[in-house]
């Protein structure tokens, strides 16, 4: 113990300890005591070596305490005259303001050639070309929908809807869907193609809203095609009976679409 205080070049503690050991040795008459004395000598010589190292070190005397005090001053410490009873620590009195390290933070970067950290401005959304690995998970999810969304088919069905009652709107959409399907029953209609309005995000959401009614009422159904993209088709009236019996066929799906993805 007391290693640090012994090492302090200004202290003579080491010498004192050695002198005391010398005196004690006179009283030694047992082997065990001699062994203890030898142990002490080993430790003392280690400390001596360290002290010598500190002397030899080519560094001019550097007073770290003074440095610390000057740093505190730089950080804006408020030193009080009276001997304040600082309840917690045994440091010299003084109040270090909250922005102390901020002051240091303002000065410090001048001494470093640190590369500024790089962040994408808008978040990354392009599915190709590849972007560093951390982002790859995100890419996979969005690129799925992207392929379809990038080329919305002609949405002739999306005429202006002027605040019609929801049911009317839903009926209208159903009719559109049926017409489309009749015209070409073998081509699946991509769900996204169906609902997305390339000019209006709000309208797209509205369309999805209306379509969800159709699904709920069993008037249309959504399936996944080979690419695991949703396609929508109207249900045949006769098929209703089958639908009901296959209770498990009706699932709830939550589709989330925010403005960025829509874009």
């Amino acid at each position: 113990e007391n290693r640090e205080s012994m090492l302090n070049s200004k202290s003579n503690k080491l010498t004192e300890a050695l002198e005391e050991a010398n005196k004690l040795f006179d009283g030694v008459c047992r082997a065990r005591e001699a062994a203890l004395d030898a142990q002490f000598l080993v430790i003392a010589s280690n400390i001596g070596k360290e002290k010598a190292n500190e002397l030899h070190s080519e560094m001019s005397a550097f007073d770290s305490t003074a440095f610390a005090e000057d740093l505190l001053t730089f950080m804006g410490i408020n030193r009080t005259e009276a001997e304040d009873i600082d309840d917690s620590e045994d440091v010299p009195g003084g109040f270090l303001p909250a922005d102390a390290w901020q002051k240091m933070g303002k000065e410090a970067p001048k001494y470093f050639r640190r590369a500024p950290t790089f962040h994408y401005m808008m978040g990354s959304f392009k599915s190709e070309p590849p972007v560093p690995k951390q982002r790859i998970e995100r890419q996979k999810k969005s690129s799925r929908g992207k392929a379809e969304r990038a080329m919305p088919a002609q949405l002739k069905k999306m005429e202006e809807s002027h605040q019609e009652a929801t049911e009317k709107e839903v009926e209208r959409i159903l009719r559109i869907l049926q017409t489309h399907f009749e015209n070409d029953p073998d081509t699946p209609i991509s769900f996204f193609d169906f609902v997305i309005d390339p000019n209006s995000f709000a309208h797209t959401v509205e369309n999805m809203f209306h379509v969800s009614f159709l699904i709920r009422d069993g008037l249309a159904k959504i399936k996944m095609d080979e690419d695991e993209l949703p396609i929508i088709e109207p249900t045949k009236p006769s098929g209703r009976g089958e639908e009901d019996s296959r209770a498990g066929a009706r699932n709830q799906v939550v589709i989330s679409l925010d403005q960025k993805e829509w874009k």
């Binding site: 001019s60 770290s64 240091m104 000065e107 410090a108 001494y111 790089f118």
Partner: protein
């Protein structure tokens, strides 16, 4: 390939943890292993010409790299978060202490010094939180500090020195100037440190 690598490096550098060649090969270069050094060189040139950054290999055995700023330091506001700057403040103080004390200090001596600044290893700090972790973990991982075991100590003790990133991002001269500024003295006041810094 080159631009992929450039992006990869820029993002990986965010945490300031050195980038390993193995990661670069795995994530970006993959099949083009043979062209590795060419790709890396080109990426380095791009980083330099477009971003003003230098790609530096800090460990030639384990092949780890860091990015540092190649541009001369400009006056004025530094665009980075306050948190980051405060940490740099603490780091600068630590690096100064280490240098002025002969380039190597014992763990105990460092904390004795930091205590004077009201920074304690066992006590959560208002600004830095778990300071011990910051110093012994984060700064060491980022290669700002290097921690080595002092032989024949029982219980084991550690000593701190400047890490390779510190060597590249700053200099003894800069740090001495900082100390001189804080203490209101001329850098030549500390003759041996001064001559070492000028060497």
């Amino acid at each position: 390939q080159v631009s992929e690598l450039v992006q990869f490096l820029l993002v990986k550098d965010q945490k300031k943890i050195p980038i390993r060649r193995a990661d670069m090969l795995k994530s970006v270069i993959r099949e083009y292993k043979d062209a590795y050094s060419e790709i890396v060189n080109k990426a380095g040139r791009t980083l330099q010409e477009v971003f003003g950054l230098r790609l530096v290999e800090i460990d030639t055995k384990r092949h780890t790299y860091i990015l540092i700023n190649n541009l001369p330091r400009a006056e004025g506001q530094y665009l980075c978060k306050d948190k980051e700057k405060e940490k740099m403040g603490l780091l600068l103080v630590i690096l100064s202490f280490i240098f002025m004390k002969g380039n190597s200090v014992k763990d105990s001596a460092l904390w004795e010094f930091l205590n004077l600044l009201r920074v304690y290893p066992g006590k959560p700090h208002g600004v830095f939180g778990d300071v011990r972790k910051l110093v012994t973990d984060e700064f060491v991982r980022q290669k700002y500090l290097e921690s080595t075991l002092i032989p024949l100590t029982d219980p084991p003790e550690f000593k701190y020195q400047w890490g390779p990133r510190a060597e590249k991002e700053t200099s003894k001269k800069d740090v001495l100037n900082f100390v001189a500024k804080i203490q209101g003295k001329n850098p030549t006041f500390w003759t041996s440190q001064y001559s070492e810094a000028e060497a």
